[in-house]
């Protein structure tokens, strides 16, 4: 056993034999949140920046966090020198060219970007798109990993929305945008367990879910895959025929479009997508659940899914919080 070097930001410190990374950081007065010092509260979470951390330091973490080399500092007894990050990392951006614009419905734009380097992302993650004047917004990647340099997005126009209305009306083919590193924990790991998947999205929340479905089918996912896409009215839905086609091709993929207002035509369920899903699938024990779109839907569905038996760690969500007008 020997002292290992820990680099964190600009600092370097020694982690002594038998000492956890948390204790070393605290001894050196590096600011880090902690609670139990026993791997229970997960407040001391940190990320290894130079390869996998010791497996024992990842006990109890969600699979996607393990996958991204997060670990608990209080459980980490380094076996080598480590570079670690605490708190949120700095964003890196790459350049991208607009190669496609097409309307999916009256309010949703299918935007295709070609990036100058291939991004290492997982289906379901999002990036921040930044335009020339620095304004940036988060958008989910709508395709699977097969297209590492061609990213597609579903951008819903918000009346008066600075980025979305601009992307609809002014952004042109050939224009340049900056694309951040992929982010977020709502994604599909092909190596994950084969169980059943439930995906619920409202509006452009279909984007990451469509990416996840296509990734899962691409990997011959063994369990059942149930997708519910909801909107208020029929004209808020899109890709209905495409998803029906996919369901016809794959026996384990099931698709239910839902409208919460007005009459639902044949083949479309009436009601909010999450309510329809939870009623049809009352027992979610062992399921993985993906929720994307309206923040209220996401919050409500998390609870419903949990009460229907899904384990908390098996619920993945991205709430499409709209950046407020005063934030930037």
């Amino acid at each position: 056993m020997q002292t290992r070097k820990i680099s964190v930001g600009q600092r370097e410190l020694g982690c002594r034999p038998g000492e956890s990374v948390l204790d070393a950081l605290l001894r050196e007065q590096v600011e880090i949140a902690y609670g139990c010092r026993q791997g229970a509260c997960q407040s001391c979470i940190a990320r290894s920046l130079d390869g996998a951390p010791p497996a024992a330091a990842q006990a109890g973490l969600k699979d996607v966090l393990r996958h991204q080399n997060h670990f608990l500092a209080c459980l980490c007894y380094p076996e080598r020198d480590m570079a670690i990050g605490i708190g949120s990392p700095e964003q890196r951006f790459c350049q991208a060219t607009v190669t496609g614009k097409q309307l999916l419905n009256a309010e949703t734009l299918l935007l295709t970007l070609h990036t100058d380097q291939s991004l290492d992302y997982c289906a379901g993650q999002f990036v921040n798109l930044k335009r020339g004047d620095g304004l940036q917004r988060s958008y989910s990647i709508a395709n699977n990993r097969v297209h590492a340099r061609n990213l597609t997005f579903h951008i819903r126009r918000l009346a008066g929305g600075r980025f979305s209305a601009w992307a609809h009306d002014e952004l042109k083919l050939g224009d340049l945008l900056e694309v951040s590193d992929p982010q977020g924990l709502c994604y599909y790991l092909p190596s994950g367990q084969p169980g059943n998947l439930l995906l619920i999205g409202t509006g452009s929340g279909l984007a990451p879910l469509a990416g996840i479905v296509s990734e899962a089918l691409h990997h011959d996912h063994a369990g059942q895959i149930h997708l519910y896409h909801g909107s208020r009215e029929m004209d808020g839905l899109y890709w209905v025929e495409e998803m029906r086609g996919l369901a016809a091709q794959h026996a384990n993929f099931h698709y239910t479009p839902c409208v919460s207002r007005g009459d639902a035509p044949d083949g479309v369920a009436s009601g909010r997508a999450n309510d329809v899903a939870m009623k049809q699938l009352p027992d979610l024990k062992g399921w993985r659940v993906y929720l994307c779109g309206h923040p209220d839907m996401v919050q409500q569905s998390k609870r419903q899914a949990f009460l229907n038996g899904a384990k908390f760690d098996d619920i993945y969500a991205d709430a499409f919080h709209v950046a407020s007008a005063t934030l930037d």
């Binding site: 010092r37 229970a40 509260c41 998390k302």
Partner: protein, 126 residues
């Protein structure tokens, strides 16, 4: 009864026990009509972490809870939503039922309830 020097936390099974209990406990709390409205507007992720920290504490495990934290965390529930003794009792009841479901011996359940009890006045802001 065999002589033992193990702490309550160890006797209950440590972190593994907390993990086993937290899902059952939280499911009970969210399904309990007496108290689930207090959780209507909370973020499930943050709440689940807090439940875990609470159980760790109640199980006699390592924790950094201070009375002031407890007060601060519950102050708005007391003020705005009328959190009172009956709700506190309901939570303790759910905790005991959770442990029963996990076949924890009654003597240990009583110890857990006694630790939870020590937070009553802080939680209720008295």
């Amino acid at each position: 009864m065999s002589e033992t020097t193990a702490t309550l936390y160890e006797q209950l099974g440590g972190e593994a026990a907390v993990n086993a209990a937290v899902d059952i406990f939280y499911r009970k709390v969210l399904s309990d009509h007496r108290i689930n409205r207090f959780f209507d507007h909370t973020d499930m992720d943050k709440q689940a972490a807090k439940q875990k920290a609470f159980l760790t504490m109640a199980f006699g495990g390592p924790n950094n809870y201070s009375g002031a934290d407890m007060r601060q965390a519950h102050a708005h529930l007391v003020k705005k939503l009328g959190l009172d003794d009956s709700h506190f009792d309901a939570v303790v009841e759910n905790l005991a039922m959770t442990l029963q479901e996990l076949n924890v011996p009654q003597a240990l359940i009583q110890q857990v309830a006694a630790i939870a009890e020590t937070t009553r006045n802080d939680v209720l802001g008295r």
